[in-house]
Amino acid sequence: MDITLIPGYQYMPELVEMMLKIVFIFTMNVGVFAPLLGYVERKQSALMQDRIGANRAAILGFTIFGLWHTMTDAIKLIAKEDFIPEGADKPLHFLAPFVAVVPALIAFAVIPFGGTYYLWGHEAHLIIADLDVGILFIFAVAGIGTYGAVIAAWASNNNWSLLGGVRTAAQMVSYEVAMGLTIVGVLMVYESLKLTEIALIQEDFFMWGIFLQPVGFLLFLACALAENKRVPFDIPEAESELIAGYFTEYSGLKFAMFWMAEFVEIVTISAILTVLFFGAWHIPFVTHDGLLSLLTSVVGADIGNLLLMFIHLAVFWGKVCFLIVFLMLIRWSLPRFRYDQIMKLGWKIILPLALVNILATGVILLVVK
């Protein structure tokens, strides 16, 4: 049969490309990073505390540095009783973990993880949905993630959960305001909300966000950490005060899903930081065209493009991994803030500083232009 007779065949390459990208991002997050981060966190804490860390589980005598413990944890959690407390709102109790995980994954749809490549006559963009309002979309979706925690807290019929949920809501709302403002400076410099455009401008090493917006970077980092709800901003689940906060009443796999949400959020935050401040997939002092012409002269245009794509993917994910390790370093170094300290930091320090940053950026832009 002639393939051209199938209705809509001309969209086939796009469809295949789209599916591949979605599968790639999904496996990267859920299949690679979520389980691996559990392991990395464990081993990193062990290193930082001068311990050995998990290393006993073995298959046929191979322990592979304790990597099996990720698998044993998963098996254990799957085989654990799925508990729903008496008086809980069953549908909502069931729904909450999904509401927490899904937005973190969806946010990845607008993050570019590579440039544009011409492969055998097909133009491949390494981004799932190149929205004009990319960065706003991320904020909108991240806002939905808050509902996961709040619904979980409300549906559990438990006072500790409820307190955790209220704290989550307060913390998230405060820091979302500040976070939106910290990013305005970046948007003013790059004159775009589109993440691919922001990334493309950073091909020039000295145009990286971290050089143009150092204050914005620090403020955004602080806000992103707070949005992530991990130490030092883990007041919603503060173990010494609220047992386990909003997921006190969750057991087994649903409890693991809240963890997964946190881990996926770390990856998302690192990816956003990479795109906005660390030159996305670009190698310092190496331009896209320069490297491409070099590769093309060696292996030809198509293979050259393909190779370049893999190089850029490696660079992008390498930067993301570096930032993840950095974020975990913070997690294992700092003690938890008190509730009032968190609120003070958000409203009285970060918010005014972000406004000053916007003003300063505006003045400098006016002077330079």
């Binding site: 290393n55 099996w68 044993t72 006190t248 057991s251």
Partner: protein, 178 residues
């Protein structure tokens, strides 16, 4: 027994190229290396427990590092320190709140038998109200003993049958314990 013989038969035929196992074994393997602890610490043994969890002895090597203070998420109730009669209802409540499967670890002479507190106020061992899986005596027990106990518990968990679960609530209700 018949099933086990059949398995040996398969492995005999297939040689070392295939590993046969049962779901029970795999789940047991997963569970034994992934205890989330609920540390129920009341007295001096707690100091020694810190040493067990700390860098020098490092209980994380056995995969049992993570303390979950919500009983729903914990697997292993480690009872550390003297348990008075006033504490018993609380301990019982925590045990009942834990999600299945759950194990109980008696850490120290006081928990095992009341220890030197043979008096009106102290419970003479928590096994008077809870099913205990491992007893580690000592006042306080050395971390080496604790790890020995933990490894024995791992052996038990590895060979557990699913029919053992659920264990259900403790022997006594809250009213009876008062």
């Amino acid at each position: 027994m018949g099933v086990e013989n059949e398995e040996q038969g398969f492995e005999h035929v297939l040689g070392d190229s295939v590993i046969l196992t049962t779901v029970e074994q795999v789940v047991g393997w997963g569970r034994k290396f992934s205890f989330f602890l609920y540390p129920f610490i009341t007295a001096c043994c707690g100091m020694e427990f810190m040493s067990v969890a700390g860098p020098r002895y490092d209980i994380d090597r056995f995969g049992a590092a993570l303390p979950r203070f919500s009983p729903r998420q914990a697997d292993l109730l480690i009872v550390v320190g003297t348990i008075s009669h006033k504490q018993l209802p609380i301990l019982n409540k925590v045990y009942n709140q834990m999600a299945e499967p759950k194990w109980v670890f008696a850490y120290g002479a006081c928990v095992v038998s009341g220890g030197m507190y043979d008096n009106y106020s102290t419970a003479q061992g928590i096994d008077t109200i809870l099913p205990v899986d491992v007893y580690v005596p000592g006042c306080p027990p050395r971390p080496e003993m604790v790890f020995d106990g933990l490894m024995k518990l791992q052996d038990i968990v590895q060979n557990e049958k699913f029919s053992k679960w659920p264990r259900g609530a403790g022997k006594y209700t809250a009213e009876e314990l008062k």
